[in-house]
C-alpha cells in the first residue's frame, strides 16, 4: 500500500480523566432463596439414585427450586433490593447494574436494564455478563475497576440463576446439583482497599466440559429437545480442585496477605467434594471458616458465592471487616478469584 498523505492530529484538546484511582469495597450484600425446598427424595427416582448416593457424591441434602413466579428478574430484583438496604446506599446513587447470569431466558435484551428499571435506577448503565459460576467474581472485579477508575460511583452486582430451567431432570451428572437463587453486592468507594487484585482467566480448550447441550440454531433446525446444560463431572472435578487451588493461592498472594490472615474461604458452591478437596490443597489453617452452603442450597452458579457469604454472616461466622477469599469457576471454562473485606 502506498501512502500519499500523512494525517496529523490537531493536538488542540486533551481528554480529561473522569476520576482518581480511589479504593473500592463491598458495602452490603443481599440474597434471595426460592420458597420451595427440594429434598433428595424428590429427585432420586428420575436419576435412579438414592439420598445416600447424592449426599456422598455432592454433600447436598436439600436445594431450592424457583416456582413460576420466581423468575430471573424477580430473584435478581429481590437480592438487589436487599443489598441496597444492607449497604445504606439509595438506589438513586447506583450508576451501574451488572447482572451475572446464564439462565436469563432471552437472547436479548439483557435482564440488567429491566432489573435496574424495576429497582428505580432508570439512568444506570446496565448489562449482563456471561461467566457462569464465575460470574459474580467477574462482576466484583468489574465493579471494583469501575469505582477505582471513576466510571461509576456505586455499582450493584447481581448473580442470579434459575438453572432448573436448563436442567435435564433425568441427567445423573447434574439433576441433583443444580438449583436456583440470587445474590447481590453493592460496591462503592472506600478509604482503604476492600477488594484485592483479581486473578482470572479462561481455558477454552475445555469449552465443552460444561455446556448447553445444543445451540439454539440446532434446536430450531433439527427439532431437538430443550437444550439442558450438561457436564463432564470427572474433568470438571480435576480442573476445579487441582487447577483452581493455585489460582486461589495467587489471589491470596496478590492481596499481600497469607492464608493465616483469612477469616473465611468462600469457593463457588459447586460440590462439597470439590470444596473439601480444594480446601485440602490450599492447606488453609483450621481457624479459616469454609463456606458449605451447598448442603442446603445446591449449586446456584453465579448466585452461590454471595448466598454462601450471607449464610456465614447470618450464622455469625463471617465477621464484618474480616477478610474472605472468594473464587468462582465454571463453564467456559472460566475463573476469577479475589480477597475481599466483608461488609
Amino acid at each position: 500500500m502506498t501512502t500519499t498523505a500523512t494525517a496529523r492530529p490537531k493536538g488542540t484538546g486533551r481528554i480529561s480523566s473522569n476520576g482518581s484511582l480511589r479504593q473500592a469495597r463491598i458495602l452490603g450484600l443481599g440474597g434471595y432463596r426460592p420458597e420451595r425446598l427440594v429434598p433428595n427424595s424428590e429427585i432420586v427416582d428420575l436419576i435412579d439414585s438414592s439420598d445416600e448416593w447424592i449426599r456422598e457424591r455432592s454433600g447436598i441434602v436439600t436445594r431450592r427450586w424457583a416456582g413460576a413466579e420466581e423468575t430471573v428478574e424477580m430473584m435478581a430484583r429481590a437480592a438487589g433490593a436487599q443489598a441496597l438496604a444492607n449497604s445504606g446506599i439509595d438506589i438513586g446513587r447506583i450508576d451501574t447494574v451488572i447482572v451475572a447470569t446464564v439462565s436469563h431466558p432471552y437472547q436479548t435484551p439483557a435482564v440488567a436494564p429491566l432489573v435496574a428499571h424495576q429497582l428505580g435506577a432508570d439512568r444506570a448503565a446496565a448489562f449482563d455478563i456471561s461467566a457462569a459460576c464465575a460470574g459474580y467474581c467477574h462482576g466484583i472485579s468489574l465493579a471494583h475497576d469501575m469505582v477505582r477508575g471513576g466510571t461509576s460511583e456505586f455499582v450493584l452486582v447481581i448473580g442470579v440463576e434459575k438453572l432448573t430451567d436448563f436442567t435435564d431432570k433425568t441427567d445423573r451428572s447434574t439433576a441433583f446439583l443444580f438449583a436456583d437463587g440470587a445474590g447481590a453486592a453493592v460496591v462503592g468507594p472506600s478509604e482503604e482497599a476492600g477488594i484485592g487484585p483479581t486473578v482470572w482467566g479462561s481455558d477454552g480448550a475445555q469449552w465443552d466440559a460444561i455446556v448447553q447441550r445444543d445451540s439454539w440454531l440446532d434446536v430450531r433446525d433439527k427439532d431437538l429437545d430443550w437444550p439442558a446444560i450438561t457436564m463432564m463431572g470427572q474433568t470438571v472435578f480435576r480442573w476445579a480442585v487441582w487447577g483452581m487451588a493455585p489460582i486461589a493461592q495467587q489471589a491470596i498472594d496478590k492481596a499481600g496477605i497469607t492464608a493465616a490472615d483469612l477469616d473465611v474461604f468462600i469457593p463457588h458452591q459447586a460440590n462439597l467434594r470439590i470444596i473439601d478437596a480444594m480446601t485440602k490443597q490450599l492447606k488453609l489453617p483450621d481457624d479459616v471458616v469454609v463456606a458449605r452452603d451447598i448442603t442446603d442450597s445446591g449449586n446456584t452458579s453465579a448466585a452461590s458465592i454471595p448466598l454462601a457469604t450471607l449464610r456465614l454472616i447470618e450464622d455469625g461466622l463471617a465477621p464484618s471487616g474480616g477478610l474472605a477469599l472468594q473464587i468462582g469457576f465454571g463453564a467456559g471454562l472460566v475463573y476469577a478469584a479475589q480477597v475481599i473485606q466483608l461488609p
Binding site: 457424591r57 463431572g233 472435578f237 480435576r238 487441582w242
Partner: protein
C-alpha cells in the same frame, strides 16, 4: 525410571488407602475400582492425579474411564513410564 508391577501396585495401594481408607492389602490386581473397591468417579480422579504425581506420568481424562481394574491402572502406568 520404569518400576516393576509390584512396585507400582504397592504405590497405588498407598494412594488408594490415603483417599478411601481401604486396607492396602485389599488393592489387588484383579479388583475392580468400582465394583470391588467401591471407589466412585470423583475419588477415582483424586487417585489418578495422585498417581500422576507419584509415578511421574500423565493420565488424560479420556483414559480414566478405561482404568476399570487395578491391573488396568498398573499396566497403564508401567507403559507410560516406558
Amino acid at each position: 525410571m520404569a518400576q516393576s508391577t509390584q512396585e507400582i501396585l504397592a504405590g497405588l495401594a498407598e494412594i488408594v488407602n490415603e483417599e478411601t481408607g481401604l486396607d492396602p492389602a485389599s488393592v489387588e490386581l484383579d479388583k475392580s475400582f468400582t465394583d470391588d473397591l467401591d471407589i466412585d468417579s470423583l475419588s477415582m480422579m483424586t487417585i489418578v492425579v495422585n498417581a500422576e504425581d507419584k509415578f511421574g506420568v500423565s493420565i488424560p481424562d479420556d483414559e480414566v474411564k478405561n482404568l476399570k481394574t487395578v491391573r488396568d491402572a498398573v499396566d497403564f502406568i508401567a507403559s507410560a513410564q516406558g
